[in-house]
């Protein structure tokens, strides 16, 4: 296992970066965010198609047998997905990679191992890998991987006896871009509480209502199902939802790489700005109060890279489905606890050290601040991830 980037990973990064430089400049992203009010969504379908199909990022976690590029022997893995997320974070790219190629894909991979919906999951994974369809996991982006039953609370979606889903889920990312929604449901048939994961194709019976969102480049939406035809992908007795848990946990681990990308853009952009901007007849970057803040931030980003790489490497070594081992779970929690805060700090420093221009709508810094702050809440807060470490670190709470 290495914490460095491999040559293959660097090649993938270069391809993604080149495409983003061409199609996803900060000003282009800002235009999309501006017109989102009219268009209903900032998601860039063209860009996503190019990423998903031409570069093949949609199938990085999907096994080769199912049409993706993941394999144990030299194929893609969570490490490559992490590198893509770094680049997408650096560009705050409005594409549904995290929602479709990570969260929904991981939910399907976990379900594919189970009897009930194996075939449905595999068929969907094939479509996702080919870039023919985009999916999302209809679970709140604020859900914590440490509260696994929460997505199936009583007023969530239910699967009726007629095989249709009814109910509302709030705080969903990537819903406007999704052809397929994977929704955890309660099964109405049983007397015992029992849950399942359903695949619902976007249709008239599914209403996606975008919510004015803090994060302009990855907004949340409310998704309502009104007797929407559904296929059962997986089911379980009791309230255990391994598909959701696995998706949130692994998603949290990979989100750290996006946070790293956000932080790196903020640091690089700020350093460049303070070298140029002059006050008191010298560059503001020559003032020690500024230099020391940026040195500290650099150190945080260096740590974030080590933590994010470690999480990606351990996720890559873990089996595609099934619960994560302790090492990987610790790596995910450490990466989130650290990287979430670093991204926010980097974005806040970016705004502050740009002065007035940093406060304007016109400058892209706010896109990063909004992304960083939303990411901090997403998939478990830093505090939740830290609490989860009390056990593995053997630092028991006071009694």
């Amino acid at each position: 296992m290495t914490l460095l980037y491999t040559e293959v990973e660097e090649e993938l990064r270069a391809a993604v970066r080149e495409l983003l430089a061409d199609k996803c400049s900060p000003s282009a992203v800002l235009d999309r965010a501006d017109s989102a009010a009219a268009a209903g969504t900032p998601y860039d379908a063209e860009l996503w198609k190019a990423l998903a199909r031409d570069i093949g990022v949609a199938g990085l976690l999907i096994p080769e047998e199912l049409g993706g590029s993941a394999s144990r022997e030299g194929g893609a893995s969570a490490r490559e997905a992490a590198v893509v997320l770094e680049e997408l974070g650096r560009a705050v790219a409005p594409v549904p990679f995290l929602s479709s190629a990570v969260l929904a894909t991981q939910a399907l991979l976990t379900a594919a191992g189970q009897e009930a919906g194996g075939n449905v999951a595999e068929e969907l994974l094939g479509r996702l890998a080919a870039g023919e369809a985009t999916a999302t996991l209809a679970v709140s982006f604020a859900a914590s991987p440490y509260a696994p039953a929460a997505p199936c609370h009583e007023d969530g979606a239910t699967l009726g006896e007629d095989g249709t889903v009814t109910g509302t889920v709030t705080g969903v990312i990537g819903a406007e871009a999704a052809d397929v929604l994977l929704v955890p449901v309660r099964l109405a048939r049983k007397t015992e509480p029992c849950v399942g994961l359903c695949a619902v194709e976007a249709s008239a019976a599914v209403r996606v209502t975008p919510v004015p969102s803090l994060d302009l480049t990855r907004p949340i939406a409310t998704v309502s199902f009104a007797s929407a035809p559904a296929r059962v992908v997986a089911r379980a007795e009791g309230l255990e939802v391994p598909w959701v848990w696995e998706a949130l946990m692994r998603g949290a681990g990979l989100l750290a790489s996006e946070q790293l990308g956000v932080a790196e853009w903020c640091l690089t952009t700020t350093v460049a700005y303070v070298k140029e901007r002059r006050q008191f007849a010298r560059p503001v970057g020559s003032f020690q109060a500024v230099k020391h803040r940026l040195a500290d931030l650099w150190l945080e980003v260096v740590g974030a890279r080590a933590a994010a790489r470690n999480a990606a490497a351990l996720l890559a070594e873990a089996p595609a489905a099934g619960p994560l081992g302790d090492d990987a779970a610790v790596a995910v929690a450490v990466a989130q606890a650290h990287c979430a805060a670093v991204a926010v700090h980097a974005a806040e420093e970016c705004v502050q050290l740009h002065g007035g221009i940093g406060m304007t709508w016109e400058h892209p810094a706010h896109l990063y601040l909004k992304r960083a702050k939303a990411d901090q809440i997403a998939l478990g807060t830093p505090g939740e991830h830290r609490d989860a470490l009390a056990g593995p670190a053997d630092l028991p709470a006071p009694v």
Binding site: K275, K291, P396
Partner: protein
Amino acid sequence: MRVTWDEASVAERARAFLAEHDPAAMDRLEFLRARFDAGLAWVHFPEGLGGLGAPRGLQAVADRELKGTPDNQPGRIGIGLGMAAPTILAFGTEEQSKRFLRPLWTGEEVWCQLFSEPGAGSDLATLATRAVREGDEWVVDGQKVWTSSAHTARWGILVARTDPGVPKHRGLTYFVCDMHAPGVEVRPLRQITGEAEFNEVFLTGVRLPDALRLGEVGDGWRVAQTTLMNERVAIGGAPARRTMMGVVAETWRSRPELRTHDLHQRLLRLWVDSEVMRLTAVRLREQLAAGHPGPEGSGMKLAFARLHQELSGIEVEMLREDGLAYDDWTFRRPDTVDFIGREAGYRYLRAKGNSIEGGTSEILRNIIAERVLGLPAEPRADKDVAWKDLPR
């Protein structure tokens, strides 16, 4: 002679060495000397100088195979191992390397670092200790301060001014100082911990043969940079057997009555920070092993100092009444440097030095800002002025 080493061949060599040298049946020093001669002291050093010319990362393999055998007590000889050795290797002649490295590594000869002076700390290049050439000798006069281990040292790495007529960085030369030479006087300086790890060293008419010069005359600043770079990695980046986090966590586990929610939250934060620092160090070593050293090295000591200070501070606070006590204020001159030894109060006080020794945290931030991030330097008045004409 083999050219490339890998994990298996280093392990193999260590096992073969052990098969021929039974530490239980040998004198400790003889064993260490033999280990040095077998190239298992620091495998990345050249053959004949305690190494195999192998990648640095393979040292862990040798250490693993030789676990439990007598070690060279790194706490006694940290300055030799971490600073003198890499500098001698980089700038010493063949003869100097052969003379100094073996007893340095085995711990037979302790080294100290004669850099800081009363008038030159962060601004090391402004130092005033003079070395004047007389035939084949140099005569050294001046005062050094904060010199750790000077009282146990056989040798010192010394930077002195050989040309006051040029700007400060250019008039320096680097020497090995014979600590037993006439005119070297070492006096203890008591620290806030109560003991004296460090000393002041008075150099009065000390005669050093030119053979003890390391590097060219006037090139002392460049040689000193090698020492300082290695010092920072040695203090912050080395893998630790026992860590401050480990020590504080032991206290937390064994004293449940002291736990509070506030401390728990803070401790978990620091546990994450420790883990991030460990991973950063792992990644840094990987970069070094892969032959592309990253600038990450300059940051390790900064992170390390902060972590040590916060953790040791939490421990004293957590201990409540026990934190009001101190184990022992007796003045003594220890022969080891141990950041996490003794008790919580000592650890707390000793950790204060971590952000001062080897370059203060402020200076390290300057270095990161200017050399890593490329931010402009502060305007300065001392660059092109002869040292003797600087305002004092």
